[in-house]
Amino acid sequence: MNAVALTTLGIEIGWGAALAIKTLVILLIIPAGALILGYVFLLKMMSHMQSRLGPMDPGGFHGWFQLIGDGLKFVQKEDLMPDGADRKVFAGAPAVVLISTFLVFLVIPMGPDLVVKDLDIGVFYALAVSSLSVIGILMAGWSSANKYALLGGLRAAGQLIAYELPLLLAVIGVVIQAGTMSLNGIVVAQQQQSIFGIDWIGNPYILTQFVGFLIFLIAAQAELTQTPFDMPVAESELVGGYHVEYTGFRFLFFFMGEYGTAFAFSAIAATLFLGGYALPWVEGDLANWIGPLVLFAKLMLVAFLMFWARFTFPRLREDQLQAFAWKFLIPLGLANLLVTALFKVAF
């Protein structure tokens, strides 16, 4: 959303106002994204798929009041801290998780000019800052002075380390094809490239990098600690994992961090594999206007796949999880990388 973009839309603003607008958009995007995903998928889709009656009841039509009621409940709860807790670390942990989510949104383009900062190394930056949330999770698990919380934190760390690698390998395939790490550059590349000479829809990388797309989705699912990879918060084994001691608005922070990150990963997947904000034959100012809507539609499609898996599969065992990452996903990712590189050199 830089000044140039708004000028082409007929609005004159200075860099100070542009900075203020950017900050506001980024600050609003996480609560908004968390609300949308929580409402559409967690409450409505899950209730329909699993025949849950509770979330369909409050307020009448499809239980529209449920999420507002949940929010009010969180805000008015007492702010509890366990007796033996390490107070500063305990209080800082939710903030670390949320900050890492905020930083990811800085590089996601919503239109040709609608991006906070189009970094040259955009996708690398996004993965680097999203990996910081593990530290918040470990801080939360340790500082709670609770064995279940600590076990949850350790499981989360082990899982996030293991699935960081397939995630990176899946992204490298896209970077090789696009020839750039800038997310905006990747969108443009998908618009302009062709698949063996057929160029009327460009080259959305979901077609040529389908294996990469699958690896990315699975690894993102594990990074988000969603079922079938939800051992860190497995309520039947660990009560609630690393956030078991958190109540009220601190828990709300973790909740927003989780769904905000799901929103961010869906947006990154939509940008990397589905062509991001771009539609075929749409260029120039029009792309700036409808870009956010197109990106949102694609992102919801990716999020639908993620939450569909979440509501359908049973939980894996801890050793199955590690074996799946190291013995299957990483070799597959390396093979995909090799094939992509060969095709890049050959064609």
Partner: protein, 168 residues
Amino acid sequence: MWEQQVAFWVIAVAMAGAAIGVVRANNVVHAALFLIVVFAGSAAQYILLLAEFVAWVQVLIYIGAIIVLFLFGVMLTRAPMREERGKLDNSQRLASAVVALFLFGVLAVFLIDAFGGTELRFRDSMVEVGSAASVGDSIFRQFVIPFEVVSMLLLAALVGAVALARRD
């Protein structure tokens, strides 16, 4: 230029404070958390020097991986909640102070001798030098052999770790 000077000193003071915190913390987990501030500070210094790619590599590798492994290891083996006064201390304070002072002296003398009169003048064209493309170019053109040697070293370390951990 003065903005860069101010930013440098603010970050440098924060880094030095956190580094002292790492040594003085009475709890291993706190020491590791202080270390995050030091690493984040050095990433910020790289950005000040226009080395953007190196800065985010620093974040991904040091903060996202090495610190996480530190914390993981500490919490897996023992996770002390209370302060362990005395247990993390030893009787070699004086010796370590001498070594630290000597190292500081040597580094200061060499750095001032090598770069003492150099003045950095940042231009827009220098942004290119810190980009991922030019870093990749120089690694795979000028420094291919050191790069391959380091890869072999890491591979050997990996094989060694597997051999040590293996039980049969």
